[in-house]
Amino acid sequence: MSPEENRQPLQSSLRVQELLYGLRISEVMTNKVFAVSKNCTMRDVRVIMRNNEISGVPVVDSKRVVGIVTMNDLMNALEEGRLDDCVVSWMSGEVQTLAEDMPLSFAISAFGKFSFRQFPVVNKANELTGILTFRNINHALIRELSRQLREMEQQNENPPEPDSLQFTKVYQLARYDFENGGKASSAIKKFLKLRRVPPKLVRRVAVAGYELEINLVAHSIGGMLSFDINDERVKISSHDRGPGIENVDDALTEGFSTANEWIRSQGFGAGMGLPNVKRVSDEFAIESAVGMGTMVQAVIYLTQEKDDENK
């Protein structure tokens, strides 16, 4: 773990995290893609790169990505004076693509995992629809954060009441750190209890948060858990950097578990975690991609149940 990750994150990182969840790759990528077909030459690629100031050109075969030619490949060809070769002989054939409906957070994981400077983006039919670079991500984040700042400035700044439920907090969780797994949920439980939220609701929030914490500690390589609370609801978001879930339906099946003996010896890993989160939540969403991470969002309403319990 890097020193930055050890440090307690600022509340504002919740904003960024929300953005990374909320934005889809398709909203951030460059739509105008310069691609070449399999029978183009390296010379064609050089022209495209030079004229458009880009550093990677996907190679497509009837819209499907079959390779990518990077600046490196071009320089290698140039060095050997073989610019008239077909791109196929110089391109990298193993291309990592991203799906356009993935959340932006997955793309960031991919940039961290691979050393590529750009990723071709494909649609459900596996056709090339865009290209994603770090520059795209930076631009999108700056754009969205400025928009949010403007919104915040426009809002009247009412000081929060002491017993107000408005609260946001982000917790970092490290792999196998069972010692700290659960602290966040205990703190949130205390917060809600002090503000006289009905005990049954407090328990539901605590259970969902705790199961997600244990999941982060036991199954992920590390991640974040955030709580976003207002008078209406508690929104719990869990976001990890990997390894991702192969089959989400399996993970939601009671009793299905990939836990190892050690996790079981801690009293967990019975395959009830995610189903239990779903059970106690009013809204539940999960998204996962192997190698990129998993995000779970659980919402528990605070208003409706109050009436129910008064009946």
């Binding site: 797994g181 659960g182 005990p199 328990r203 967990f268």
Partner: protein, 113 residues
């Protein structure tokens, strides 16, 4: 039922608890070493019996609002566990009985007179 009666029945040793722990009312008992199962519990005024003597047992019990935890098999209780229990005003007891026998003991005294 008062927690003190249960403590007597189990010949249990008090590790920590709030001042009024003896008169604490226990309505249901849950015996498990599987915290995943504990977290599915919807019971009120619950006592957890477990032989999993870890901080996570105390945490899991706290998350579902359990009032008291009995550690079975006379397992060693760590400082961390005591601290966690105190933080949550939870009563922590230790018994030499294994989980099953402890459950039977409580079952006997809980039967209608």
């Amino acid at each position: 039922m008062e927690l003190l009666r249960i403590a007597h029945a189990l010949d249990a040793e008090l590790i920590c608890g709030p001042d009024d722990w003896e008169s604490m009312q226990i309505e249901t008992v849950f015996a498990s070493d599987l915290m995943s199962d504990v977290l599915m519990s919807e019971r009120e005024q619950m006592l957890l019996i477990t032989s999993l003597s870890t901080e996570q047992s105390i945490r899991s019990a706290g998350i579902v609002g359990s009032e008291a935890v009995v550690i079975a098999n006379h397992k060693t209780v760590t400082e961390g566990m005591i601290e966690l229990a105190k933080e949550q005003d939870m009563t922590l007891l230790v018994t030499r009985h294994p989980k099953y026998e402890a459950s039977v003991c409580i079952g006997r005294i809980m039967e209608p007179q």
